[in-house]
Symmetry: C2
Subunit: 335 residues, 2 copies
DNA sequence: ATGAAAGCGCTAACAC
DNA sequence: GTGTTAGCGCTTTCAT
């Protein structure tokens, strides 16, 4: 049996209540008693049982993480690395509820309840199966990454998709492109909508008119990028520059361009989104928009903590700036 | 307040003991009472509080994960994806103890105890700071990935590094290479030792003698690969093929070769290890040894489960086969 | 077959 | 300033 608070009390010759008070930083305890207790806590290597603690109504210091996409999200590691910083700073542990799945028999929310999880960060693409209704209604504090859910005790954090696309369009316009296409993500998903809006206002600012045939919906994958690019190439007047909703789509698009006997960036410029590790290594190295997933991860936990601690805090809506990283996949428009 | 077992008991008109028995699959309960209880469990959406459960000595169904490397391990995602399968199948949740750090003030082991964690899987490179002594002594079930620790209640799982290298050498020998170099990982680390052994027996089988100057120690990084290759290139008689301990090192080696005005695989063949996502995308696409990290992750959890369940089980030592994936970075030796 | 009651480790009134 | 005690939600003897 692990050492319990009673062992410490016995060793120090005080009551369990006193030990508890010392442990919880009550000031109503004599300095010397406190020293003595602390001495035995150390000596016996005592650590309070968190299950018992949370059972009596105290905090569990546990937050959950949920991915709508399974574990294959390209940013998972970066987001987690960011989360870790805040987790450590605020004293939480992170639990991955393997059995949980939104809308399934054993629901996320119920599972969180039975585990005394104080809040969750959820991310992943929009997903037909993802039913967040129960989560919202339950009042469990939640921070969504890349989904603009702001309701009850759920807020969100996301990259500045709109501004990112505006800037990307401006960059390409400076390179004298005027036939710009957009290979989108899942149609009408949050990210896609905002990026499209940024694309359009960017176009307007550059004095270029938006053409519906230059917008193809996709789903962030390489295959979708490949297919979308083929359609673009088949147009009577193909674009000279293509903005993709993800680096993987950009990679697919580049393949399609190559297969058509064209080259990047000489014939067509390709711009990605995300700046995944790959972006730097492919040929040509991908010019792309870097999402600061480390910051997003860290802030997500911080926001969640604030939401947990302050019951009446309005749910956060946070937008994180992006960065255009110029490599070799975009060049001046052919004249 | 969430619904408790008492609410169910009250609703069903039975005692809490009976509800508990139903929930825990006791057979000593009348079929009709059981039905009734189950009906209310469902109706009230009751889920037993896991903290309370583990407090009365039952299992917490929680396993921990610990990385000696922080979150930047290239396999993290794949291992986790594998783990997830087993986690779901066996009913565990995974907790990432953010505050834990081996050898620090709040130790991994103590933290696990206070969280009632039943076992841990640990992975990452060998690390000077990594002191596993306390973990081993504590008797907490543990499965190490890529570290051959087998003692007490700790076992391990790893790729078949030795066989992988033997095969790689045989492959290169078939391509008529006879000046083979090995850019190693952290010197004398588990993986490195076994790979070196495989390298040497592979050489012996092919009738090639091992040359000490063809072995350079590294640390799995791109930089190390780059530096090591420069040293190899400076040799009076440089190798015609290089086996690297990681894909990242292979990428670094290729850079060094290019900078020397040579090309891969025409002048020098380069073989990687791991098969990270990048391997497929770089130029030339990397011929490499694929580690089956998904299987390793899944099996790690399964082994851990068995260790947890059976107190006197001998700690496992599991070797997982690898696969040579042939792409474009290796070619026939120049004559 | 069912229920009453003890107790897991801890915290929080409430006495003293 | 310190100790006694009830009780968090659950499982498990032990009666009945």
């Amino acid at each position: 049996m692990a050492t319990s608070i009673r062992d410490v009390a016995k060793a120090a010759g005080v009551s369990v209540a006193t030990v508890s008070k010392v442990l919880n930083g009550y000031t109503t305890v004599n300095e010397q008693t406190k020293e003595k207790v602390l001495k035995y806590v150390k000596e016996l290597q005592f650590r309070p049982n968190l299950a018992a603690r949370s059972l009596v109504g105290r905090r569990s210091m546990t937050i959950g993480i949920f991915l709508t996409t399974g574990l294959v999200h390209p940013f998972f590691t970066r987001i987690l690395a960011g989360m870790e910083q805040a987790l450590q700073a605020r004293g939480y542990d992170l639990i991955y509820l393997a059995r949980m799945s939104l809308g399934k028999e054993i629901s996320l929310v119920q599972h969180c309840q039975s585990r005394n999880v104080e809040g969750v960060v959820v991310f992943g693409f929009q997903h037909e199966n993802a039913d967040f209704g129960e989560l919202i209604e339950s009042g469990l504090p939640a921070v969504f990454i890349d989904l603009d859910i702001c309701e009850g005790r759920a807020g969100y954090i996301t990259s500045d998709n709109r501004e990112a696309m505006e800037r990307a369009v401006a960059y390409l316009a400076d390179l004298r492109h005027c036939r710009l296409a957009y290979i989108g993500g899942i149609k009408d998903s949050y990210a896609d909508l905002h990026r499209l809006a940024g694309f359009q206002t960017g176009l307007a600012r550059a004095g270029i008119s938006y053409r519906e045939e230059y917008r193809i919906a996709g789903d962030f994958t390489r295959e979708a990028g490949y297919l979308a690019m083929q359609r673009l190439l088949a147009l009577p007047e193909p674009p000279t520059a293509v903005l993709c909703c993800s680096d993987m789509s950009a990679i697919g698009a580049i393949e399609a361009i190559r297969e058509a006997g064209l080259s990047v960036p000489e014939d067509i410029s390709v711009l990605g989104f995300d700046d995944i590790e790959l972006a730097e290594y492919i040929q040509p190295a991908l010019t792309t928009i870097r999402q600061d997933m480390t910051t997003i991860g860290r802030r997500a936990v911080e926001l969640l903590d604030e939401l947990i601690v302050d019951e009446k805090l309005a749910p956060p809506e946070v937008i994180v700036p992006t960065e255009l990283v110029v490599r070799q996949s975009c060049g001046p428009a052919k004249v």
